[in-house]
Subunit: 360 residues, 2 copies
């Protein structure tokens, strides 16, 4: 089998962690006899610098010709003065999600054995561990709803956004959440604000209907405000959390922070053909870029998600995940995951990549 991958490394630590992911992918290709071809394209800040916009035509065309997008991260202080629409994050990610209809965002987050102390949660809560999969709808809701704009003048000037969800959009993301729960703890928690939003009332109703096809999966509903709270007290009681676009944005970040190890988390954004964009959950971390100390694990795990979901190479994906677990269990860690007194044992970006590549 031969595959085409569009590599969009982007800004900040993007290029350096991507180099390690490529190193690991090269090992996997040899071992599993895969033929993967990579083409690099500019995206985000570097694309603004080189081509005047965060998502140039050539990049979009390259993505169209590929089987999947391996994405690094975008943004940095250099481009923060730009109007919101032209900034790297918003100007690259939202159009990519819209163009390829990447409606399904999977954000797995778990507390790794031995890294409980990284969590900002009280030790008795983090000791119980947690493993949550946030399934976020990514091309609907208030992100893309029309009309959106401004009108009026003076004190009456007003801005407006529209949150909008159809039965079709809710059904397809809900099915994915229930299917994912089957391979896990068989529980879906659907997050909404049905006591205020018309969209949430429809959401809850459609999710109930979809649930009928999954009698083996337990369904519960929770309001977004309460979800934010309960995750702090009993994160171990959640399994799959099914969220609309905005609520998923907020909750997936809260859950990521609860692990305390953002450098280990990756995310998959897919459409119904299996095409997808795979990226680390953290940002471009401009403060540590170029120092060779960034954690490449999230980028490496993004490559695993790509192998699993877009290339359907489950064995290769698992091999990467096992190699990562091996590194972490061996205490092979970058500096941000070590307490101050152990910081001298920190591994570099390159050392992490080498270890994981060798472990394949």
């Amino acid at each position: 089998m031969s595959y085409q991958i569009a590599v969009l490394s982007g800004d900040g630590i993007g290029p350096e962690v991507m180099a390690e992911a490529r190193k690991v992918l090269a090992e996997v290709e040899t071992r599993f006899k895969l033929d993967i071809n990579y083409t690099e394209y500019d995206v985000g800040g570097i694309a603004i610098d080189n081509h005047g916009c965060p998502l140039p035509d050539a990049t979009l065309k390259g993505c169209e010709a590929a089987d999947a997008i391996l994405f690094g991260s975008v943004g940095g202080p250099k481009w923060e003065h730009l109007p919101p629409n032209d900034q790297p994050e918003r100007g690259a990610l939202l159009p990519l999600r819209g163009h390829f209809e990447l409606f399904c965002n999977l954000r797995p987050a778990k507390l790794h054995d031995g890294l409980e102390h990284m969590s900002p949660l009280r030790s008795d809560i983090s000791a119980r561990g947690f493993d949550v999969l946030c399934v976020r709808e990514l091309t609907g809701g208030i992100y893309f709803g029309k009309p959106k704009g401004r009108q009026g003048e003076g004190d009456d000037e007003e801005a407006f956004d529209t949150m909008r969800y159809s039965r079709r959009e809710i059904t397809r993301i809900a099915r994915i959440a229930f299917e994912a729960a089957r391979g896990r703890k068989n529980k879906v928690t659907s997050v909404d604000k049905a006591n205020v939003l018309a969209c949430s009332v429809l959401w809850r109703q459609v999710v109930e209907e979809v649930a009928k096809d999954f009698p083996d999966v337990t369904l519960e509903h929770i309001y977004i405000d309460n979800a934010t709270m309960q995750l702090l007290r009993r994160p171990d009681e959640f399994d799959v959390m099914l969220c609309s676009n905005l609520f998923g944005d907020i909750l997936s970040d809260e859950i990521a922070m609860l692990t305390g190890s953002m450098g280990l988390l990756s995310s998959a954004s897919m459409n119904s053909t299996g095409f997808g964009l795979f990226e680390p959950a953290g940002g471009s971390a401009p403060d540590i870029a170029g120092k060779g100390i960034a954690n490449p694990v999230a980028q490496i795990l993004s490559a695993a998600l790509m192998l699993r979901h877009s290339l359907k190479q489950e064995e290769a994906a698992s091999a990467i995940e096992r190699a990562v677990t091996q590194a972490l269990s061996a205490g092979y860690l970058t500096g941000e995951l070590l307490s101050a007194d152990k910081r001298s044992q920190a591994k570099s970006t390159k050392q992490m990549g080498d270890f994981i590549a060798n472990a394949i």
Copy 2:
């Protein structure tokens, strides 16, 4: 001076904690020679049972005739099967906020000395303490924006909500946040999602303009997803958080949970005439209702907020707050604030009320 107060105790623990607040208010009246008259009205579930709707006309009329509303809490399993619009919380609170244009919601939350262990945060984070005031816009945004509804059929059926903010609405709530910051640590963190929402772009712009009138106050902007995360790592770095209606709903609950002592938190919802609704931040807690173990402190502190903001009786308000601090510092606590091994020292709802009333 003579005042009229509409007392809406509601459901669950509402009536029992309200009784203690009334006890404390009686002491305050004597000591500060105030003439306060109370009239009780049904609201929420009990109003559904007695009058067929969560906010009967007589209750609304009673509130109109009053100087302030002292609110307990509403809701419970008995009314959860009702359609969202008819449920106690939504059917009573939202119409009250809309009718009296209670646009300004203040939710103070701090970690009390000696209660750090209640916080779900890691001990080194909670040891630094925190004291955050969430200023939430309460009558605009996606809660009240029109159009809101449903249309279409079959798979195309869709629901929609409108988020809407005018320059006027943003200005008036922003000014309150900046004024509040002056009496605190002189810092305002404005929460938005300006990388996605048109409303947030206007919000950020207007907040910047208002900030010019407060050169002594530091302003910073943060995205809602990032705010949810940073509160877990460094809650001590926030002072006043300025939020739209939906983001304030989510963040104020997250902050409340971070204290780990919801039974101590109260909230004020006011309009521009000084009229307001004062209530505990927690819910009706039907599971412990009638057992005499609920913490009455949040309700008692709501009475203090009422004295300060609507009745302009600052001294009386401070007297209540000092009496509460005295109780907490003396380790005079209800069961939910004590670790299992000290649970036998728990004070009852009534004992807490008596202690605080005596301390006035």
